[in-house]
């Protein structure tokens, strides 16, 4: 594991206006106005969205803007990318990669079919995580890295390694580390993936909970994004999925993307759903398409 210490490191406003739908006897629903996002543009869709991509897209750009780290007004423009990969000092996220590797090796020793299951029938995991989430024909559902781990453990070893648990996250961060640096390529040419993307997109704009917030209330232009929300400044959703599972300093543990969704729902005072829930999977597909062409960036810390 490389642990070099390196130099650290507005836009087309979405048409404003809450869209409320009342059709016939349909219940009244409020959605945050939808921003225009073209899934084919992948991470480049941030241009014309938050327009922060040029500040964090590459190592060189992060270095050039390292002066913003710790600046309460400018830091959000770096999209926290200065904390990905080996850009920050040793933290437990790095150690989790080794732990996950040891766990996966142990499980594969019990039955080599476990590794073959993770590797889509092959022998190596290298680069595979960059293609997730994807549609699995045999299972007839969308699979994420975390659901793949859960499913392989169950079917091959009859062991529960549930999504949203520390063992699953450790194996996941190891699995994904074998794609670190590989550009994410969620297959938007797959009809099932796009159906999931569209459902996830709808969820992103749906106002929920006691606060009547949508994900978009904080993460599209014209929303709270780029403004202060107490101590935080919400950032762009583009490339965000790339660094999960991440080591979360507030909880001192690895956190998967779907666990992060759950944490957001708590802050939005919205009823919880669990990692692996189809709604979260759709949201993960939507979010990961917004990371297409950006490299898998684990381990990371937030």
């Amino acid at each position: 594991m490389r642990l070099k210490i390196r130099t650290l490191v507005f836009a087309a406003i979405a048409s404003l206006g809450t869209t409320a739908t009342v059709a016939g006897d349909e219940p009244y629903h409020e959605n945050y106005p939808q921003a225009h996002i073209d899934p084919a543009r992948g991470v480049n869709g941030d241009i014309g969205f938050s327009d922060t991509l040029p500040f964090w897209r590459t190592e060189a750009e992060l270095e050039r803007n390292a002066k913003w780290v710790g600046d309460p007004n400018e830091q959000w423009k770096l999209n926290w990318k200065f904390m990905d990969l080996d850009r920050v000092d040793l933290h437990p996220g790095h150690l989790a990669v080794d732990e996950g590797e040891a766990m996966a090796a142990k499980l594969a020793k019990r039955n080599p079919a476990f590794l073959a299951c993770l590797a889509d029938g092959g022998k190596k995991l290298d680069g595979l995580a960059a293609g997730y989430p994807k549609y699995d024909k045999a299972l007839d559902r969308i699979v994420t890295v975390e659901s793949r781990i859960e499913q392989c453990a169950k079917t091959v070893l009859n062991e529960e390694i549930r999504q949203g648990t520390p063992p699953n996250n450790k194996i996941s961060v190891y699995f994904k580390s074998l794609s670190a640096g590989t550009p994410i390529k969620v297959d938007i040419g797959d009809g099932k993936v796009m159906e999931s993307y569209r459902r996830g997109e709808q969820l992103f704009y749906k106002k929920t909970g006691q606060l009547n917030f949508a994900c978009a209330s904080c993460h599209v232009p014209g929303s709270i994004m780029g403004h202060k929300l107490r101590g935080e400044t919400p950032t762009t959703p583009f490339a965000d999925a790339a660094h999960y599972p991440t080591y979360r300093t507030p909880i001192g543990a690895l956190e998967s993307l779907q666990e992060r969704f759950a944490r957001c729902l708590g802050q939005m005072r919205t009823a919880q759903i669990k990692p692996g829930d189809p709604a979260f999977t759709d949201l993960e597909v939507f979010m990961t398409v917004l990371s297409n062409d950006y490299p898998v960036s684990v381990p990371s810390a937030r």
Partner: protein
């Protein structure tokens, strides 16, 4: 690659520390199933949004400005400070208008009460939670916050 500057490292260390200070307590999650959620299967997934509701201030305000200040600052309560600069409190938000001199703006108690109860009645595009309609703040709590705002000069 150059090595990290001392400044950046200090900033990062501070960052870790500040975020660590916000560690979520492991209290049981409150039940929000009475409001819309993202689930495809739970009942809350099909729940309607509560419609914008005009509520008039009844009688005199009779609010307690000091209590209102506390409510406005508490993260688990009004948390007005999340989006607004106000008198007192730390780490104010910047998305909403600065309310630190609200009392000098000449707005009535009645319109202020109605706006906090449900800002959607004034501005359908608002990001502001419907505090009264969604039961985030009670009638006396909204009165306290109105009193605090009117005392902010």
């Amino acid at each position: 690659m150059k090595s990290i500057s001392a400044n950046c490292r200090a900033a990062l260390a501070a960052l870790f520390l500040t975020t660590a200070g916000q560690a979520g307590a492991q209290a049981p999650a409150p039940d929000y199933s009475a409001y819309p959620c993202l689930s495809y299967t739970l009942d809350c997934g099909k729940l309607a949004t509560r419609k914008p509701q005009v509520k008039m201030l009844e009688g005199t305000l009779n609010g307690n400005a000091e209590k209102g200040k506390q409510l406005a600052q508490a993260r688990n309560n009004g948390n007005c400070l999340a989006c607004h600069v106000m008198k007192g409190g730390s780490q104010p938000g910047t998305r909403g208008p600065d309310l630190s001199h609200y009392g000098s703006a000449g707005r009535s108690d009645a319109e202020t009460y109605t706006a906090i109860h449900d800002m959607r009645t004034r501005n359908p595009d608002t990001l502001m939670p419907p505090f009264g309609t969604n039961g985030i703040l009670s009638d006396p709590e909204i009165r306290d916050i109105v009193a605090f705002l009117q005392a902010s000069k």
